[in-house]
């Protein structure tokens, strides 16, 4: 039996799409828990034709940032670092942080989405600068940044449920035919070549931030095909290898290899050249609350500029001057105020920006993958045959991406209750269809699916589940589909035009913290330059 058939069999039970959802739809929750998600009622207000007109005096501000996810927070952080405090940061939700937001219960803080940051590359200068400021880089050793060991993911990092036992690492060991092993070796060698490849322009073939990648057509041409097609052409068809690569595509892009651009698929493996002392370059930084640690640190750098529960509903050119006029809805009061800004940074997904700032955006090409993340509070930590519990625990026989242990970094002693963050990208079906499912499927139905999947991986958790909190992301990640590198809408948005710039990982086509942070920083620097404020570029 191959991993492929196993997965399909499990998939049949785990997510037989909307039909199953309808059948289960009326089930009562079996465990305590909440059903949360991005506030789409507020989001969908933007679709409504009638919104209140602006009232009251017009507020004057230097830079208006719309969107308090990682990109918007990075924009604000960059402005603050440059000593520019004259800005407002609007966030539709009641809390900033976007996909990096977290929850907390009596047992632990836990992520609702993004939960780790790989040690950044040499070229990620602004991000490294921020990590130094936050004390996560504590110094230098042999000329390379030295990371605070408490922030690096503690051993044991990853384990894989494969052939009935847990093994260390995510690459299956043992039980592979010689031919399969040869394909694995060939794939890894090819990726190592791409990792060290440099284009004719002297830039790395694959960089992180991706904007710094080579524009050499030799590499760009990869974007014309899907990752699956590229793998087929390379003769990389071993089921275990393809199952692993599918896991990776879904993990970073929420998308199937058949829909991922080959350039993006390779980027996953070829772009990470983490730069750190003591050989820590291939490590990750992680925290119980996930990337909310970083989001909150950026938010703390702000001094009263952040306005949550406020969304930009309309952005237009100021007929009376060089700046822009933004109409801002206060969701609590249901009132609209007008802000006049010298510059604006739209740190929001493109599909939202398109609605509120039609004058500044081109229609086009972005699509998004939906995800479900469940936080499962358990009385005792999971065990299982083989290596002990790791930070990231993945099963070859599950459609989910497995679970991450929230207390991995904090626990000194093992054995107590913990929170497992379970991830499922709903990548099999049409995203629009899945988003409808997300709106209708009940908490109980999700809980049953989460528990069944978790117990299949860890039967030892039977009776140990205390609660299951489910979080739905309708637009969790932008999808790097073939052609995304040359998509005119993406290129247009990435370029920006004074006095409006965009800042979002959408502009990179890769929903990564590094990308969002980079886009925020360069948008902030463009706005600073526009406003004539002196600064030394971090980008």
């Amino acid at each position: 039996m191959t991993a492929e058939t196993t997965r399909r069999a499990v998939l049949g039970g785990a997510l037989a799409g909307s039909a199953a959802a309808l059948l289960e739809g009326c089930g009562e929750p079996q465990w305590p828990g909440t059903l949360g998600g991005a506030d789409w009622q507020r989001g969908h207000l933007l679709r409504a034709a009638t919104l209140p007109a602006a009232t009251g005096p017009v507020e004057e501000v230097g830079v208006l940032i719309a969107g308090g996810g990682v990109a918007g927070l990075a924009t604000g952080w960059r402005l603050a670092e440059a000593g520019w405090t004259d800005f407002r940061l609007l966030e539709l939700e009641d809390r900033a942080g976007g996909n990096a937001r977290s929850g907390r219960n009596a047992v632990s803080a836990y992520p609702l989405g993004a939960h780790y940051l790989p040690v950044p590359n040499r070229e990620a200068r602004a991000l490294r600068h921020m990590l130094e400021r936050l004390g996560m880089i504590v110094g230098e050793e042999d000329g390379a940044p030295l990371y605070d060991p408490y922030q690096l993911c503690a051993d044991l990092e990853e384990r894989l449920l494969w052939r009935g036992g847990w093994q260390e690492g995510l690459v299956p060991q043992g039980g592979l035919s010689a031919a399969d092993r040869a394909q694995w070796t060939r794939f890894q060698a090819t990726m190592a070549d791409f990792r060290s490849a440099v284009g004719q322009d002297g830039r790395p073939a694959f960089a992180l931030p991706m904007a710094l990648s080579s524009s050499d057509p030799r590499f760009r041409a990869l974007d014309a095909q899907s990752f699956a097609q590229w793998l087929d052409r390379q003769g990389l068809t071993a089921p275990t290898l393809r199952a692993h690569l599918r896991y990776c595509c879904r993990d970073d892009y929420g998308t199937e290899p058949e829909q991922v651009s080959a350039w993006a698929g390779i980027h996953y493996f070829a772009a990470r050249r983490g730069w750190a002392a003591r050989g820590d370059g291939d490590r990750e930084l992680t925290w119980p609350e996930g990337n909310d640690r970083l989001a909150r640190a950026m938010a703390e750098r702000l001094t009263g500029q952040l306005r949550t529960g406020h969304s930009l509903i309309r952005l237009t050119r100021d007929p009376a001057g060089p700046g822009v006029l933004g109409d801002v809805l206060d969701h609590a009061r249901n009132t609209v105020r007008r802000i006049r800004a010298r510059a604006a940074v739209l740190a929001m997904p493109h599909f939202v920006a398109r609605r509120v700032a039609a004058d500044f955006t081109a229609p086009g090409g972005f699509s998004y993958s939906p995800w479900v993340v469940a936080n499962v509070t358990v009385r005792r930590p999971p065990g299982g045959k083989g290596v002990p519990l790791a930070w990231d625990n993945v099963s070859t026989a599950s459609e989910s991406l497995g679970y991450v242990v929230a207390t991995h970094q904090s626990a000194g002693a093992a054995g107590g209750p913990t929170v497992l963050t379970w991830y499922l990208p709903l990548s099999r079906e049409d995203p629009a269809q899945v988003r409808k499912l997300l709106l209708t499927r009940s908490l109980g139905a999700w809980q049953r699916q989460v528990a069944a999947d978790l117990l299949a991986m860890n039967p030892d958790l039977d009776g140990a589940i205390e609660r299951i909190d489910v979080w739905r992301w309708g637009h969790a990640m932008v999808r790097p589909t073939p052609g995304f590198l040359t998509d005119p809408a993406r290129l247009d948005a990435a370029a920006g035009r004074a006095p409006v710039w965009f800042a979002h990982s959408d502009l990179s086509g890769l929903s990564l913290f590094e990308e969002a942070h980079y886009r925020g920083v360069i948008a902030a620097e463009a706005a600073l330059a526009h406003c004539g404020h002196p600064f030394e570029s971090l980008a």
Binding site: L152, A154, L156, P388, A413, G415
Partner: protein, 516 residues
């Protein structure tokens, strides 16, 4: 008595055909052996789990014999079909007796009062065994003259007892262990039942009984096959000494055993000390460090909730105050409030000079602001990742911060003989944390050759003025502790970090090789 009485006159007691009589006589031997084995198993288990073997054996044997009397008395209420009743008794004994050892081991940690379970089982098996011989005599009475019958049955009965009492200590317990012994003799019991049922199948409807017997046989075979796993589940069977206390706390499983004067503490199955030689371990842990500090006023002990290290420290009048950080409040409660155990540590945990902190040391050291003249790090071996964190560079950096400029610390560092790479990893890691380190070792019989690592901000003095009155350390033996012969000599090792846990990995490998 007529040897050939017609069967019709005794309904339910069919005339035994020749092969059946042979089976029945052999079964006397088997059931007698089995009966005594169960009795010995219960007695041994009781003294093993509850201690005080004289009392346990005496009460178990008394209860068992009394129950046999009850069984014999009850046999009068069997009016007919003695053979059928006998077969069912055999099946029941096979199930109860066969599973008795495994069941008692598994029950021990689960039930509130183990004695109730124990004596209920002893009573049930005793009653059933007590039924056997009277029934057999009645079944066989048509086959033999009464004189012969009594002679035969009782001879086989006593021979069986001899076989059992010799086999049990010489072969069964050492070779099979108690759990397997139970299953093997349960199988013998059920074999008798099956043999009788097969011999009877022409005359009687035996289907249901045969099915029950086969089911019991299958369960016993399964138990036998899984004996190793059962042994692990019933961790009590894992200890070689009688268990006198066992309790699971949220952090660990605490087990105390005692054999004669030797009291032992196990945490999660790992020996922490034996009262026979713990003074060697604790003198070696404490005095080399304490005597190298000019004024050890403030002492920190990390781990060591048994209070034995604290006992040594408090013997030094220069020590003004001891802070002891242990994860598990239950350990401190046990070693402070149980007179027998508090006696071992000289009441150290109740001393006004000692402050007990129940905290996870990994987190505690990160927030603690005090300075300590001597620090003793006495954690369990790095058998798992959560314990491995307490041996990392990050952890030692925090400990070094708490160490006074002229202070000294020492770290329990596993066996340099069994696990030299692991042992020297501790020194490399302390050095990576900016300290100077020196390994030393002592022979502690219950552990073997054991290692410690001393560390300080500056150079470590070669000799130390030891106080009088120690049982193990002398100036000459102390100097010798720092000498490492080639099989334990220092070797290059990685630094143990949070993100590589090099120590947990090498520890598992080296001890795995040693344990085979």
């Amino acid at each position: 008595m007529d040897d050939h009485a017609p069967a019709a006159s005794e309904p339910g007691a069919p005339q035994a055909p020749a092969p059946l009589a042979v089976i029945l006589l052999v079964s006397v031997l088997v059931v007698a052996t089995c009966g005594l084995i169960y009795e010995l198993l219960a007695g041994t288990l009781a003294s093993y789990l509850l201690g005080d073997s004289v009392t346990q054996f005496s009460t178990v044997i008394g209860t068992y014999l009394f129950a046999m009397g009850v069984g014999s008395w009850l046999s009068r209420h069997v009016h007919r079909r003695e053979l059928a009743v006998f077969v069912r008794v055999e099946i029941l004994i096979a199930a109860l007796g066969g599973w008795s050892a495994a069941g008692l081991f598994l029950l021990f940690p689960l039930v509130g009062d183990f004695r109730i379970a124990l004596y209920a089982l002893v009573l049930s098996i005793g009653v059933l065994v007590g039924l056997e011989i009277p029934l057999l005599i009645r079944i066989l009475r048509h086959r033999f003259a009464f004189r012969e019958l009594v002679s035969n049955v009782l001879t086989y009965d006593y021979v069986g007892a001899l076989i059992a009492s010799l086999l049990f200590p010489l072969v069964l317990v050492p070779q099979l262990g108690m759990i397997r012994t139970g299953f093997v003799f349960g199988l013998a019991n059920v074999a008798v039942a099956i043999a009788l049922l097969v011999a009877l199948r022409r005359q009687e409807r035996v289907g249901a009984d045969l099915a029950a017997a086969l089911l019991v046989a299958a369960s016993l075979l399964a138990g036998l096959a899984m004996a190793d796993r059962l042994q692990r589940w019933s961790e009590i069977a894992f200890y070689n000494e009688p268990v006198i206390y066992a309790r699971s706390t949220p952090y660990q499983r605490i087990v105390l055993t005692r054999r004669n004067a030797d009291l032992r503490l196990y945490l999660n199955g790992n020996l922490q000390f034996s009262t026979r030689d713990e003074y060697r371990y604790h003198e070696a842990l404490v005095w080399p460090v304490l005597t190298r500090v000019a004024q050890p006023r403030r002492v920190l002990i990390l781990g060591g909730g048994d209070g034995l290290a604290a006992r040594e420290v408090l013997r030094d009048a220069r020590v003004g105050h001891v802070t002891l950080v242990d994860l598990d409040p239950e350990m401190a409660r046990l070693f402070r409030d149980t007179p027998q155990l508090a006696q071992l540590n000289g009441g150290a945990l109740a001393s006004p000079r000692l402050t007990l902190v129940n905290a996870d040391a990994f987190r505690w050291v990160r927030t603690e602001q005090g300075r300590y003249d001597a620090i003793l790090v006495d954690f369990p071996d790095p058998t798992e990742f959560s314990l491995g964190k307490l041996y990392t560079e990050s952890f030692y950096r925090e400990v070094a911060r708490l160490l006074a400029p002229q202070g000294m610390m020492t770290v329990q560092s596993t066996s340099p003989l069994v696990a030299p790479r692991s042992f020297w990893t501790v020194a490399s890691t302390l050095e990576a944390a900016g300290l100077q380190a020196r390994g030393y070792h002592a022979y502690v019989p219950s552990f073997g050759e054991w290692g410690f690592t001393m560390a300080a901000h500056g150079p470590i003095a070669a000799a130390a003025p030891l106080p009088p009155g120690l049982r193990f350390l002398t100036p000459a033996s102390e100097r010798a502790m720092f000498d490492f012969p080639p099989d334990m000599a220092r070797r290059p090792t990685p630094v143990n970090r949070l993100d590589n846990q090099a120590l947990v990995r090498s520890f598992a490998e080296e001890w795995g090789r040693y344990d085979g």
